[in-house]
């Protein structure tokens, strides 16, 4: 059996999962919020893209220029109005509220859309592929998403490491009350982080909508993949998250090469192995309480 091919496909798939996981990991890193509605927001963004595409007759990529900022604004408002109130010592309020949001979004999509599978199309690019050495064929779009994931993670890690906003993000996850004393409203930092995460989720939602298909409830599966990537990679490390996403992708595609119907199960199994033997993930960073 040729394993090189599924390996490459898995790595590329990891790019998609990394796009998802980055936003989830950002929100957790800055606010200690586990956003259970994260996958549903991705699906919401995919539907939004579909609506814009049908209304304006433009390509999904062009529609993204409207949908991603719109999602970012939605994230900002959501953080300032609802999520901010759930922050505190206990993680329970934010879990309950984002779980509720998840149900609300799924039901709204069922109400206003339909339950069947939808897909976004970029025309010929959907199926185009190029041939690499060793006769490996890779899809142009998955390759594009993988490279995009690398670019976006590089930008994110540069922003966190080098800019004033990035310093404040790190400071606020150390000690929000003291950030206040430096003349910065911590709520503003939180809301901007959520806006970035929601902009990312729009990009990830579009990528998932082109690469696979979606329906009103497919957000839950996306959330689980993002989760698994974050945990495998190690909480709080962007590059760890990319590594985790690639491991998950490879586990799924290589698993599928052995047992075509058990692709997702193979991913879960690898995730459980990590949980059992490397609970701090690849980067082994300790999580602060």
């Amino acid at each position: 059996m040729n394993l090189l091919d599924p390996l490459i496909q898995g790595i590329l798939l990891g790019g998609l999962y990394a796009l998802f996981a980055a936003g989830l990991s950002l929100m957790f890193g800055v606010m200690r919020i586990v956003n259970l509605a994260y996958g549903d927001f991705a699906v919401l963004a995919a539907y939004g893209t579909l609506i814009v595409v049908n209304a304006a007759l433009i390509s999904p990529l062009a529609a993204l220029l409207i949908v991603a900022p719109a999602m970012a604004v939605l994230g900002y408002i959501l953080q300032r109005t609802i999520l901010q109130r759930t922050l505190g010592l206990s993680p329970l309020p934010s879990l309950l509220v984002t779980f509720g949001l998840s149900i609300i979004i799924q039901n709204l999509l069922l109400m206003f859309g339909s339950a069947d599978q939808k897909r976004l199309s970029l025309g010929g690019v959907d199926t185009a592929s190029i041939t690499l050495p060793f006769d490996i064929r890779v899809g142009v779009f998955p390759l594009f998403i993988f490279l995009l994931a690398i670019v976006i993670l590089s930008i994110l890690s540069w922003v966190t490491a080098k800019t004033q906003y990035g310093r404040l993000v790190r400071a606020v996850s150390d000690d929000p009350a003291t950030v206040d004393l430096q003349g910065v409203n911590p709520k503003q930092i939180y809301a901007l982080a959520t806006a970035i995460a929601f902009g990312l989720v729009a990009i990830a939602g579009l990528a998932a909508g082109v690469q696979t298909s979606f329906n009103p409830t497919s957000g839950s599966m996306l959330l689980i993949f993002a989760f698994e990537a974050v945990i495998i990679g190690g909480l709080g490390s962007l590059w760890g998250t990319l590594g985790g996403a690639m491991i998950l992708g490879v586990a799924q595609t290589v698993g599928a090469a052995f047992a075509p119907a058990q692709q997702i199960l193979a991913g879960h199994l690898v995730f459980l192995l990590f949980l059992a033997f490397l609970p701090n993930g690849l980067t082994r960073r300790k999580v602060r309480a």
Partner: protein
């Protein structure tokens, strides 16, 4: 510059400071003294905006700031060095100082000027704040506050747990800070050290003012400090 009138503040239902009056003018220094639990930190936190004002007013440069959030007061120049330093442990010393640039206040205290004042901090520039000694942490905390170019600097027990030599170094920087027109409100448990830098003291006892004024005899101060009877 700062006029605090009948200020009270509480933690939940428990009032921690009651009817405090104090004033401080540009370039002035006032030492707040008192025993453990007297309410010194509570008073500073209330002025800085970390604790809501229950009643009374905090007038700063002509405006009542008692309703403003802490970050807004910081932007106006009320900068606190909190009890226990509260550095951002995962940031480097330099990054800790840079966070204060967000107060967006121009003035004499550029990063370079602050490093000149505290060579100790400059030497540790690239070290993570979590890996500093107590004295280095305290110097960094003061340096961070200075980068915001305070009009009013609130210092909460900067000498706590430090060796005498480093305490001396930190206190030696105070006159230089005052020279720039910054006023300092200093919390200090050690009365004689407080009297060294400030003629004026404000003594708290169980949340209320027990004595306030200039050039007061040490015996009278210690009576107010411990709440023992004094014959007047």
């Amino acid at each position: 510059m700062l006029d605090v009138t009948k200020l009270s503040a509480a933690y939940g239902q428990v009032t921690a400071i009651r009817d405090i009056d104090l004033a401080i003018s540009e370039g002035g220094i006032l030492a707040i003294i008192g025993a453990n639990g007297a309410g010194k930190s509570t008073l500073l936190k209330t002025i800085a905006g970390q604790l809501p004002t229950k009643s009374g007013s905090i007038v700063f440069d002509g405006d009542d700031v008692s309703g403003l959030p802490a970050y807004e007061r910081a932007r106006r120049g009320i900068i606190m060095v909190p009890e226990g330093r509260r550095l951002f442990a995962s940031l480097t010393v330099h990054e800790n100082l840079q966070t204060a640039l967000s107060a967006k206040r121009k003035g004499a205290w550029t990063l370079d000027a602050v490093y000149d004042l505290f060579p100790l901090v400059a030497e540790r520039k690239d070290r993570r704040a979590g890996n500093l000694s107590g004295g280095e942490q305290q110097a960094t905390a003061i340096a961070r506050a200075l980068v915001a170019n305070p009009r009013l600097l609130l210092l909460d027990e900067v000498s706590l747990g430090l060796a005498p030599s480093i305490i001396g170094e930190l206190y030696a920087s105070l006159p230089i800070i005052l020279e720039q027109g910054t006023a300092i409100l200093l919390v200090e448990q050690d009365v004689s050290r407080a009297l060294n830098v400030s003629d004026e003291v404000h003594c708290l006892l169980q949340g209320a003012t027990s004595l306030a004024g200039k050039n007061i005899a040490l015996s009278e101060i210690s009576a107010a400090y411990f709440g023992t009877e004094r014959d007047s």
